[in-house]
């Protein structure tokens, strides 16, 4: 067992581009749930339209990548409006089911043969982000002892972490503005906000759009990161990851999702790496756990973690217990 290798793997996971991208999407979710109390279980749908909006603009309409990201954002705004109109007037639990269903509807639609000319159907899309990597200012890999990041990963990390931190900062400014106070009052007591003459529906819609836009940018970055897209990489499980990240860090805290994502990916890669080493060294007999089961163990661990967090520490690492006495009615 090489603990140093496990630890460096885990740290690389915690700082890598994926952690940054999930942090950004979780910042969006934090706007929805943490500040407005919207139970959005379809954040992955926003990521999907963002990713495909970007890739399709580049591949089918030959637009520059930057314009593609804007198209992705526009798609997310449209999705938020379409989704919000029927569901935002309803109780929170209805919104949860409607959003998860909507995300699945999108996934089915994007992988269907109808959409194949644009989305590539089940085969997906590839090689649309060359424009991004051409801008890479890093020329060589970074090598810090046990750590090494390729120039490609470095460039992505810089962009993704800046995006996540900027988004968190922007949300921080917004929620401390009068607008943010109304948002939180909607979360705390919708009727009270309404009786003070606030248009609750409009505020919820603005929150849904804003959080969705962050989701879309995260989706674009995810697509750029792997240079390939497939509808089946946008499964509902991604949304559950994001929820775990947000709650782990602390919902309704500006830095909650960022911290949550770092810790989440550290633990996840640690577990992965540890199990691989333990199976390799024969500490866990392969009859109990085969290397192919590690993925399943990881999901099961996320599930268990989410349960334990919600039962014993719903405020997460830096959350405020008082801020989260939510109920659906």
């Amino acid at each position: 067992m090489d603990f140093l290798a496990i630890l460096t793997n885990a740290l690389r996971g915690a700082l890598g581009p994926e952690a940054a991208i999930y942090a950004l999407a979780a910042v969006g979710l934090n706007v929805h749930f943490g500040y407005t109390g919207l139970l959005n279980f379809g954040q992955v749908g926003f990521m999907l339209v963002g990713a495909y909006g970007t890739a399709i603009s580049v591949l089918s309409f030959e637009l520059p990548l930057g314009v593609g990201v804007l198209v992705g954002i526009a798609c997310a705004v449209v999705l938020a409006l379409i989704l919000g109109i029927p569901t935002l007037r309803l109780r929170g639990d209805y919104l949860a089911i409607a959003t998860i269903a909507a995300a699945e509807v999108l996934r089915y639609l994007y992988r269907s043969e109808w959409a194949e000319p644009l989305t590539g159907g089940v085969f997906g899309l590839k090689q649309f982000a060359d424009g991004f990597f051409e801008l890479n200012p890093f020329t060589g890999a970074l090598d810090l002892g046990p750590f090494d990041f390729s120039a490609r990963a470095l460039w992505l990390m810089v962009v993704a972490w800046s995006a996540a931190l900027l988004a968190a900062g922007f949300v921080g400014l917004l929620v401390h503005s009068p607008w943010g106070r109304v948002l939180r009052s909607v979360r705390e007591d919708e009727l009270a906000a309404r009786s003070l003459g606030k248009n609750v529906f409009a505020y919820k819609m603005q929150s849904l759009v804003l959080g969705g836009v962050f989701g879309a940018i995260a989706g674009s970055l995810l697509a750029v990161n792997s240079q390939s897209l497939n509808p089946d990489s946008f499964m509902p499980i991604i949304t559950f990851y994001l929820w775990t990240i947000m709650i782990l860090g602390g919902a309704s805290r500006v830095m909650g999702p960022i911290l949550g994502s770092v810790v989440f990916w550290f633990l996840l890669t640690f577990l992965d790496s540890f199990l691989r080493q333990a199976i390799g060294a024969g500490l866990i007999p392969s009859s109990v756990l085969a290397p192919s089961d590690i993925g399943a163990v990881r999901f099961a661990a996320v599930g268990l973690g989410l349960m334990l967090l919600m039962i014993f520490r719903p405020a997460g690492l830096i959350g405020n217990q008082k801020e989260l006495r939510l109920d659906v009615r």
């Binding site: 109109i85 269903a101 929820w243 089961d293 099961a300 349960m307 939510l326 009615r329």
Partner: protein
């Protein structure tokens, strides 16, 4: 009351299940009304078989296509591909066979990728082996023989309607539990789909190698397993959480975590492969004029309706059923009038778990057993429950039938890969025009 209720359900289950199924078995499994000359000639305990999964160019399963196996020009057996595209033809022994695909049954626009690709010669089956056969399908010219232009295919519509009712009935018995749990505890139980999977997987393990129980018995035991798991979580987790005053959103997220945990534990134990039960897999469909249905599917459909009827009778007539409705209406008032609310809730969980487990066995029989099946059904259950009205058991049943029929009938006009999408869209549209659902109580939902 609870043991009696379970006894009634079990008796009903055994009675109805053993009816047509036993008749079918008696006439020689796999049975057919017309004797099934091609199939009955196959030695029953032959180990060798040919099998495969028929998939179209989009990797979607192609169902209802006839596959015929011949040897030296003599027909050995034939079957039609199931909902998941799978087919199996037992063969009398090792040797070389010719496998032919009936291209007239393929959907429009799908054809063998190469000319003559519908006949595979010299497929060798080794002793004791189940030889896989792959037909490579690509996009071809639409079959001009059927003339799919303006005319509406009534035969196919009737067939799909029956399929839809069958599918809807399965969703209904699983969704009843989801709806009753919501009605009594206001918890949206995201882990309900996992009870479906656990039931199906438990029946699979009980009915295959070490135990080798008959599937009917395994299904009853699977109901018990799912009920114990469901009731166990109520006693060990949900009740303490409720007593602690945990918020509903918090519990909802706990349920999501539980669903992830259970699903992936099942995945580790069961593996990710889709598997079939070893009984009732190969049956020849009865031709009932407008549509065809296998004895197995007919049994499943009738049984599901019988269970729905039994649940309705229980809710209306028995004391525990009335107590459930009382708690559903207003749990404080129910408690004040002397109803043991905690006990009612426990019974609801046990009943919901058992029905979900049974639904899992049915779903596994008609499609396949795999760890994601519960989640695939869960979204349809949600759609059914919201369509019918959250908390109303009757609403869930009606909603489920609508969802089943919508998803199957949509394949008349739209690609089969989108069939679940229409079901979910139907739910979103209902939310738009009548958020409380078809039978839901008019209450504040916003």
């Amino acid at each position: 009351m609870t043991p009696r209720l379970l006894a009634v359900l079990t008796a009903l289950f055994l009675g109805v299940f053993l009816g047509p199924a036993a008749a079918a078995v008696a006439s020689g499994h796999p049975a057919g009304m017309h004797g099934g000359p091609t199939l009955s000639s196959v030695a029953q305990d032959s180990e060798e078989s040919l099998q495969g999964t028929l998939r179209g160019p989009d990797r979607e399963a192609v169902s209802g296509v006839t596959v015929t196996v011949t040897q030296d020009g003599a027909e050995v057996g034939s079957t039609t591909t199931g909902d998941d595209g799978r087919w199996t033809v037992p063969v009398p022994g090792p040797g070389a066979y010719t496998v032919t695909l009936d291209t007239s049954g393929l959907p429009e626009g799908v054809a063998p990728r190469t000319v003559g690709g519908d006949v595979l010669d010299e497929v060798v089956v080794r002793p004791g082996a189940s030889q896989g056969v792959i037909f490579q399908l690509g996009e071809g010219e639409p079959d001009d023989g059927t003339g799919g232009g303006g005319s509406f295919d009534w035969g196919r519509a009737a067939q799909l309607l029956v399929e839809g009712i069958k599918f809807g009935a399965i969703i209904a018995i699983t969704a009843v539990g989801l709806s009753l749990v919501f009605g009594t505890t206001k918890l949206i139980n995201f882990a309900h789909g996992e009870f479906v999977t656990i039931g199906a997987v438990a029946a699979f393990f009980l009915s295959t190698s070490p135990g080798n129980l008959p599937l009917v018995l395994a299904a009853v035991l699977a109901m018990v397993v799912a009920a114990v798991v469901s009731g166990g979580f109520e006693v060990a987790m949900w009740r303490p959480l409720r007593n602690r005053g945990t918020g509903l959103i918090q519990m909802f997220i706990v349920a999501i975590g539980l669903a992830l945990l259970l699903r992936h534990v099942v995945l580790i134990v069961f593996g990710s492969r889709r598997r079939q039960y070893d009984e009732y897999t190969l049956q020849q469909a009865w031709d009932l004029g407008l549509f065809r249905i296998t004895p197995r599917d007919l049994t499943i459909t009738l049984l599901s309706f019988a269970i729905m009827l039994a649940v309705a009778l229980m809710l209306q007539r028995t004391q525990i059923g009335k107590a459930m409705r009382a708690v559903n209406d207003n749990s404080d008032l129910a408690r004040a009038s002397g109803i043991d609310v905690e006990r009612v809730i426990l019974v609801v969980w046990i009943l919901g778990g058992a029905l979900a487990g049974l639904g899992g066995v049915f779903f596994g029989l008609t499609q396949a057993v795999y760890p994601e099946m519960g989640f695939a059904l869960l979204l349809l259950m949600f759609a059914a429950v919201i369509l019918g009205g959250l908390g109303s058991a009757y609403g869930a049943m009606i909603g489920a039938l609508v969802i089943g029929v919508v998803s199957q009938m949509s394949t008349l006009w739209f690609p089969a890969s989108l069939q679940y999408m229409w079901a979910l869209l139907a739910m979103i549209i209902v939310l738009l025009v009548r958020p409380q659902g078809i039978l839901g109580r008019r209450e504040r939902v916003g």
